[in-house]
């Protein structure tokens, strides 16, 4: 979280050692905040799902159940990390680590907000959004390797499904963002968020949702598929595959996969808020809180979708990806390009 216009009263930042110290502290702080936030994403999901099923959700541990996830986390840490006979031990152990690392890496370039006139992020990359897309799709390696290493047919099926699903939806996701890049003219996340228009009397930031609504819809569907969430949770598919790639995982490794899944949800919610809803701009509300509100809203959308829709059948999933979202994304790119040329 290095400030954009660095206020450096003590000269720490100019000093190379001080610079690295600041970066490492910021990274640790961000990782801590993200893991804690993820725990509360899980809590939020359990409560919201509970309300939609007309039950209160977890409300026993701590005030209003807020410490439930701490209790679950401690329980998971002390559970036996069981590995069945015949697993590929190295890959079996590495896979959950890849899952968490790949999602956390994406946060290196995500601007987490603005306080005063200072924007905060770890690294200001001019192709930030590409890095996020590339790194978040590394998650599939974790799922595939974990599924393959488990020596279990259901795990393997889950892993293969994850791979096929990711290929189908990553294309649509990338294509859905192309119009955004064309409109903004930059791949830096900061530029996309701070994109301003000068329309007659109004001059200021605008949510890109208004300029690229089709992109938003495609991106939202692809993001749900990308994070393997219901209704696209085929790699897990409790009813058909007993949990898919998670079948043989237990204890801490299982928790790491879960952490990765919910971190992914948090990442995608933040990206949707940044890309299509003008990130930290909201009238009357300071930047960090505005971004937080938008992220919470999209987290709720993820949960809402899970509470509402049944899982797609595998062929339906493929059909939606290749025959609907991909052509729609291509048409969206072409139409946006034509409109841009005509209007400018």
């Amino acid at each position: 979280m290095i400030p954009l216009t660095t206020p450096d009263p003590f000269g720490i930042y100019a000093n190379p050692v001080g610079h690295w110290f600041v970066v490492v502290v910021a990274m640790l702080l961000l990782a801590f905040v993200l893991v804690t936030a993820t725990a509360y994403v899980v809590f939020f999901e359990r409560v919201a799902l509970g309300f939609m099923q007309r039950r209160p959700g977890p409300n026993r541990v701590g005030p209003r159940g807020l410490l439930q996830l701490a209790a679950d986390g401690v329980k998971g840490l002390f559970k036996e990390g069981f590995a069945p006979v015949g697993v590929d031990r190295v890959l079996f152990v590495i896979a959950p680590g890849i899952a968490v690392a790949s999602v956390l890496l994406g946060w290196a370039v995500i601007p987490v907000g603005i306080w005063g006139d200072v924007t905060y992020w770890i690294s200001d990359l001019n192709v930030g959004i590409l890095l996020v897309l590339a790194v978040s799709s590394m998650n599939v390696y974790a799922i595939m390797l974990g599924g393959w290493a488990s020596n279990n047919k259901y795990s393997l099926l889950g892993g293969l499904r994850a791979a096929a699903q990711l290929i189908s939806y990553e294309m649509a996701m990338g294509l859905s963002l192309v119009p955004v890049f064309m409109i903004v003219g930059s791949l830096r996340l900061q530029d996309i968020v701070t994109y301003t228009v000068h329309w007659g009397p109004y001059s200021g930031p605008i949510p890109l949702l208004l300029l690229a609504p089709v992109s938003f819809l495609i991106y939202l569907v692809a993001a749900v598929a990308e994070t393997n969430r219901a209704p696209f949770d085929l790699p897990e598919a409790e009813q058909e595959l007993i949990g898919g790639f998670l079948t043989e995982y237990s204890g801490f490794r299982f928790f790491m996969f879960y952490l990765a899944e919910y971190l992914g949800v948090l990442t995608q919610s933040t990206l949707v808020a940044l890309l299509f809803f003008a990130g930290w701009y909201l009238p009357l509300i300071p930047g960090v809180i505005a971004l937080g509100l938008k992220v919470v809203f999209f987290l709720f959308v993820f949960i809402w979708l899970r509470a509402t829709f049944p899982r797609l059948r595998y062929d339906m999933l493929m059909r939606l990806g290749w025959k609907v979202l991909l052509p729609l994304g291509l048409a969206n790119v072409v139409i946006t390009a034509v409109l841009l040329v005509l209007l400018t």
Binding site: F51, M52, R55, W304, T308, F309
Partner: protein, 156 residues
């Protein structure tokens, strides 16, 4: 257009789940709230007394005979003029129910000719050791009117 009907179906689903979230919960939060039990609910057993304080049980062992899992032990003894416990000839000197075996079928209640053994409404019978689940006569017997402080020492 089938696309629009499909999408509107999705929106109807979203609206349904959202509106459900604002309806009251159906959960009974157990230790604080308890669901209403039927009047005929069969829970923990009681041994009843007559209004004058005499025990109803006459030690006939019909409950033990009726019990499908054999969890009732009755050892009867004769009533005497000086030591009268029940109005009949005999009374239950030992009356024990093994609550770990009991299936709460209520056959003992039906078999009893004097309505001495009844199944009450209590169902929270957990305990910390197996021995605690052998319900002795002292635990089962409902307190009598004589067990005032004045007489309490004399009865046992």
């Amino acid at each position: 257009m089938s696309v629009f009907t499909d999408v509107s179906a999705l929106l109807v689903g979203l609206k349904t789940t959202l509106s459900e979230a604002f309806k009251p919960h159906v959960t009974v939060e157990y230790p604080e709230q308890k669901s209403v039990r039927s009047q005929r609910y069969r829970g923990r057993h009681y041994l009843r007394r007559y209004d004058n304080g005499l025990e109803r049980c006459i030690g006939c062992e019909l409950c033990a005979a009726a019990c499908p899992v054999g969890c009732i032990l009755v050892i009867a003894a004769e009533n005497t003029a000086e030591h009268r416990v029940s109005p009949g000839e005999r009374y239950a000197k030992v009356y024990e129910i093994n609550m770990l075996r009991c299936i709460f079928c209520g056959y003992c209640e039906e078999a009893c000719p004097v309505q001495a053994i009844v199944l009450g409404p209590e169902y929270e019978l957990s305990d910390v050791s197996r021995e605690q689940f052998i319900y002795t006569k002292e635990k089962l017997l409902e307190p009598g009117p004589q067990q005032t402080p004045l007489h309490a020492g004399r009865r046992r």
